[in-house]
């Protein structure tokens, strides 16, 4: 393994791209303002279809902020840059998933030649705990893109004509659409009969699950919908999960970045009440979530 500490995030990002072009599995990690700078390389990866993996330890913002709780980097991860956001964003909710989804990230990046984000937070990044490492990694080979022994590659990510870039984009969007169907992943927990469905992701979803379990024990029909791929977002499953719900609750450590995704996914369902527990840049405990749900019963 080669470890390289670069001068900044664009250098790390483009270095990772160079290594991927050369046929090596490569990745980087950053947060906050560094995440913004990294998007420079991510759009290049999208444009030239180069595999790319980054771990983001979200930080509270605006600006460079705190380092434990935050879900405020969701929109940048999903749509940062001046492209169409043709990437995959994974949201692990505990240490085991951090391990498993990181394996998945490499698999997806090299399978589809797309950028993949693992979107964590300081809480997940810094905690220690037991992880089962026995899961076998599916190994997708990292073939070199340049020096591939077959043909000379002339790659670019800059076009001078609108028509030219539009043609490329339409092709890529179509391709992304079919990839999306294959990779969408979510956890639907006790939603079949749920009158209240709570929407949460990442470590906040772990706290939410605790709360939902507790309230279920008292016999109330509560469920959890947790997207594991935040992009692509499994809107169809999200809709199915609220089939019997009268109310939904959206919980996140941000002010509606996730909430807007949820309401967009549920667009068209009108007879449902929406409650929100938004705590931008703060952690959310199972007790707070339990409290909120109990008030909705």
């Amino acid at each position: 393994m080669i470890f390289l500490q670069t001068e900044d995030e664009p250098a790390a990002g483009f270095g990772v791209l160079g290594a991927a072009l050369g046929g090596k599995k490569s990745w980087t990690a950053t947060a906050a303002a560094g995440h913004l700078l990294l998007q420079d390389a991510v759009v290049a990866a999208e444009a030239m279809r180069i595999p790319f993996v980054a771990y983001i330890g979200q930080r509270g913002g605006p600006s460079t902020g705190t380092v434990i709780y935050s879900q405020q980097e969701l929109s940048i991860a999903r749509d940062g840059g001046n492209g169409e956001g043709l990437r995959i964003v994974l949201g692990p909710s505990n240490l085991q998933e951090l391990y498993d989804l990181t394996i998945l990230a490499f698999d997806l990046a090299w399978r589809y030649h797309l950028p993949v984000f693992i979107l964590g937070d300081g809480y997940l990044s810094k905690m220690t705990g037991e992880v089962d490492l026995s899961a076998k990694a599916r190994v997708v080979k990292a073939d070199p893109i340049v020096q591939n022994g077959k043909r000379v590659m002339n790659l670019r990510n800059c076009y001078s004509l609108e028509e030219e870039i539009a043609r490329v984009l339409h092709r890529e969007l179509k391709d992304y659409g079919s990839i999306a169907k294959e990779v969408e992943k979510s956890e639907v927990y006790k939603c079949t009969d749920a009158k209240i469905v709570v929407f949460a992701w990442g470590s906040v979803a772990s706290a939410t699950k605790e709360a939902v379990k507790k309230i279920r024990k008292d016999g109330h029909a509560v469920g959890l919908f947790r997207p594991i791929t935040l992009k692509p977002f499994g809107a169809t499953r999200a809709k199915q999960s609220v089939r019997n719900a009268k109310k939904i609750l959206i919980v996140e450590s941000a002010f509606g970045k996730f909430g807007r995704l949820v309401t967009e996914a549920l667009f068209g369902i009108s007879d449902i009440e929406v409650e929100r527990l938004y705590k931008p840049a703060e952690g959310i405990t199972p007790e707070e979530i339990e409290d909120k749900i109990r008030k909705m019963l």
Binding site: E7, A11, F14, G15, G22, D40, C158
Partner: protein, 240 residues
């Protein structure tokens, strides 16, 4: 022996190239192509262009080519070279990309003595975007963002001289000019050799941009000669 008109490693399909008539990029690329032919390395070379007029060379060669953003042509080259140490990686950029927006990457690569070769075309302005002032703009030089003449009080930025004290002792740094094909080829050859020896190298090529200088042939040469008075050519670090 007379030289063919175009190097063998040039991608004939991409001709005529996209550069303006009289552009120094074409001359630089042509000479780079001759060196690649001479060294017989076209199949094991990776060419990384930047943004700016350098990007117009994305399909200039029948050689693996990738394109990046300002000065990141150095960073992507670093990744490529680390992944494929046996290849020759040439990073090709302008003075705006290399010495301003992406300078950090040149500093990082030079400091770590990354085994890559940077060829930086200095035409004293941001050419592709319409000729705005760059750190290399000469005092008083009129550009589209300084029509009354550059207001810079300082001397223009001297890239190789700036990098010299922070580079590894085995690094190779030089400046040549686009009107001196023999020297261009000599320095590029040395630079590639230095990469093969595991060290960083950079060759700055002082170049013409008649389009943004708004000069005819004669005035282009006159201004170029004037620039050469300040931008001294020669080896700045490494063996002569």
């Amino acid at each position: 022996m007379s030289q063919p008109r175009l190097p063998k490693c040039v991608n004939k399909m991409s001709k005529p190239s996209n550069f303006c008539p009289g552009c120094g990029h074409s001359l630089t690329l042509k000479n780079l192509g001759f060196v690649i032919d001479d060294l017989r390395i076209s199949s094991s070379t990776i060419f990384a262009t930047d943004i700016g007029c350098s990007l117009l060379a994305w399909d200039y060669f029948d050689i693996d080519t990738v394109q990046s953003h300002h000065g990141r042509a150095a960073s992507i080259a670093v990744g490529l070279k680390r992944a494929l140490p046996k290849t020759t990686v040439i990073s090709y950029m302008g003075d705006g990309g290399g010495y301003s927006i992406g300078l950090n990457h040149l500093v990082g690569a030079a400091r770590r003595n990354e085994a890559i070769t940077v060829i930086l075309v200095n035409n004293t302005l941001y050419a592709m975007t319409g000729g705005q002032m760059a750190p290399t703009t000469y005092k008083g030089e009129s550009t589209s963002s300084t029509p009354e003449g550059s207001f810079a009080k300082e001397d223009p930025f001297l890239g190789p001289e700036f990098l010299a004290p922070i580079c590894h002792k085995e690094a190779f740094l030089a400046r040549t000019s686009v009107d001196n094909p023999i020297q261009i080829k000599k320095y590029i050859k040395k630079a590639i050799q230095n990469q093969k020896n595991g060290n960083f190298s950079l060759v700055e090529v002082l170049s013409y941009c008649p389009t943004n200088w708004k000069t005819d042939a004669k005035r282009t040469i006159n201004f170029f000669d004037y620039l050469k008075g300040f931008y001294k050519t020669g080896v700045i670090k490494g063996e002569q």
